[in-house]
């Protein structure tokens, strides 16, 4: 499995085994539903925001290890951040999973997903949660998000 140490790192396996913040958010202010038609994965991201900040993020749904770990890591990393910060973080994350290079300091734990860049077929797995989060921020309440758009 040496070749995949970069993709299936222990951080990813751990977040897949024990996803953080995988639950419903009763007092959510923002919500969106994401779908990857290529693999059938579905995801709901809920946020509790106040004064322009994400106070809490949670997700529901089942997917592959990459999509589950990405969602789990995302909910941790956006917590407490302002909307502009979240968008900047997504930009870095997108660079990371498509090129393998990004501002690793800014990304923190999210850097564990750098290996995705070597597997173009799996970029959408890592991106689904983020696309859904951005849709939620845009207040597209319950509007379906597709990775194919």
């Amino acid at each position: 499995m040496d070749e995949l140490r970069d993709l299936y790192q222990e951080v990813i396996l751990d977040h897949n085994r024990k996803p953080r913040n995988r639950r419903a958010l009763d007092d959510a202010t923002h919500r969106a539903h994401g779908h990857n038609p290529l693999c059938g994965d579905q995801l709901v991201v809920q946020l509790r925001c106040a004064e322009g900040k994400v106070l809490e993020a949670a997700f529901e749904g089942d997917g592959c290890a990459i999509s589950t770990a990405s969602a789990s890591l995302m909910t941790e990393s956006v917590r407490g951040k302002g909307e502009a910060e979240v968008r900047a973080l997504h930009e870095q994350f997108h660079r990371l999973v498509t090129t393998g290079e990004a501002d690793l300091d800014q990304l923190g734990k999210l850097a564990a997903l750098a290996g995705v860049a070597e597997y173009p077929a799996r970029v959408k797995c890592a991106s689904l949660a983020w696309h859904t989060l951005l849709a939620a921020l845009d207040r597209k309440v319950d509007q379906a998000v597709s990775t194919e758009v």
């Binding site: 070749e3 299936y8 396996l13 059938g40 994965d41 290890a65 990459i66 597997y119």
Partner: protein, 413 residues
């Protein structure tokens, strides 16, 4: 022989050596190719036939008055009787070259379907159809006011034949059925189904995409009206396939695509269409594809489909037993009569992770819905992993798969 004088391996163990691509390595590991249901690799004779056509024989067909074009036309037309023999058809006139099985089904749905279906009519399909034998009928029914009826499948992936027979009736104008399921491997009792459908006056179409590579097909004994298969799944090129149709039906059908080659005469006011099968082959056909398909069918004839079937049957049983030993693995598709396909899921490991992690071991499988989303829904999964067999696979390939799956299970535990 269609290759450059190359002998085709005739021993089971020698078949593998006929496929140059299988010598490739990925991530420093020899390729273990277990995705033949998606597309098969090509024997050297097919590659050589296509190369020779473009190097030495290329011209447009049915047009030129010069020798080269006459040769190309003769080569092209000679494949029609070869295809007819390959599928046990009475003659070459019912053989129509299309892009693949998908186009063949679309052709029938668009031409026969639009001319013959209306409100009150029914199209009966099975719950295990590939989208290619579902979506064209579904859309046709929306356009014509006919109704699509779907027969359920049993827990082991077999067709619920009793239910299918109950759904078949005087309203059934078309019974379209997959011969071998690409997602489950189930071999359907097509001969029995066609006989029952004929008894109620229905027209029958059999999607043979996953049958033609694995067993000898005989449309005469099947009794069906239409049979389709794709070249690239029978060790031939992509972009070429066959629709075989009963001549009397083909005669009665309007043309599909309109343009050159499918006409006898054209004025600004009127067009007289060409005869069957040319009526259905508008424009310059995929001549090189047909030449490659010819080499592929010759290759399968040399191997002997009865031997291929027996060999793959053993291999499938071996693979089924190996996978059965893996804790947490559930086979999806365990019908008594199967061909070529091992579909499965593993507790706690998504099929896409299996696919990527097996790829790291040089093992190519398919993960996803296999263009059969209703089948996935029926079995309560979003996706499955699928290992599928070709005549070049060996027991070692399945051993590598089982070993890989055990290791991946350990990672995710």
């Amino acid at each position: 022989m269609n290759g450059l004088g190359q002998r085709v391996g005739t021993d089971v163990g020698a078949w593998r050596a006929d496929f140059p691509l299988l010598a490739r390595t990925f991530r420093d590991k020899p390729l273990v190719y277990l995705d033949s249901a998606a597309t098969t690799q090509k024997p050297q004779t097919v590659i050589d036939a296509v190369t020779r056509f473009y190097s030495w024989e290329n011209a447009n067909v049915h047009r030129g008055v010069y020798k080269l074009s006459e040769e190309a036309s003769a080569r092209y037309e000679a494949v029609r009787p070869q295809v007819a023999r390959f599928i046990g058809a009475p003659g070459p006139r019912g053989v129509i070259f299309v892009r693949g099985a998908t186009e063949g089904i679309n052709l029938v749905a668009s031409t026969w379907g639009r001319a013959n279906l209306g409100p009150g009519d029914e199209v009966l399909i099975t719950g295990m159809e590939h989208h290619a034998n579902l979506v064209p009928w579904q859309q046709l029914c929306k356009q014509t006011g006919a109704r699509m009826v779907v027969a359920p499948i049993l827990d082991d992936g077999s067709l619920d034949l009793d239910a299918w027979l109950t759904l078949l009736g005087p309203r059934t104008r078309m019974a379209a059925m997959i011969h071998v399921s690409n997602a489950l491997g189930t071999v359907n009792p097509v001969q029995h189904m066609v006989a029952a459908a004929k008894a109620v006056g229905a027209v029958t179409l059999v999607d043979g995409s996953q049958a033609a590579p694995h067993m000898a097909v005989d449309v005469t004994s099947l009794g069906c009206d239409f049979y389709v298969f794709s070249g690239h799944k029978v060790y031939g090129p992509t972009g070429i396939g066959v629709l075989w149709g009963r001549e009397s039906l083909l005669e009665s059908m309007p043309p599909y695509h309109l343009g050159g080659d499918m006409i006898l005469s054209v004025t600004f006011e009127e067009t007289i269409f060409n005869e069957v099968p040319h009526k259905f082959e508008a424009g310059t056909p995929h001549v090189a594809g047909v030449i490659g398909l010819s080499a592929a069918l010759a290759y399968l004839d040399d191997c002997g489909l009865a031997r291929v079937q027996a060999y793959e049957h053993d291999l499938l049983a071996y693979g089924t037993a190996l996978l059965g030993e893996i804790p947490g693995l559930r086979m999806v598709g365990t019908a008594p009569d199967k061909a070529g396909v091992l579909g499965f899921v593993i507790d706690g490991v998504h099929p896409h992770d299996l696919g990527t992690l097996l790829d790291a071991r040089g093992i190519a499988i398919r993960a996803g819905h296999h263009c059969a989303q209703p089948v996935m829904k029926r079995f309560g999964v979003a996706a499955t992993a699928r290992a599928s067999l070709g005549l070049y696979n060996r027991r070692e390939d399945l051993e590598a798969l089982a070993e890989g799956l055990m290791a991946i299970r350990g990672m995710f535990a």
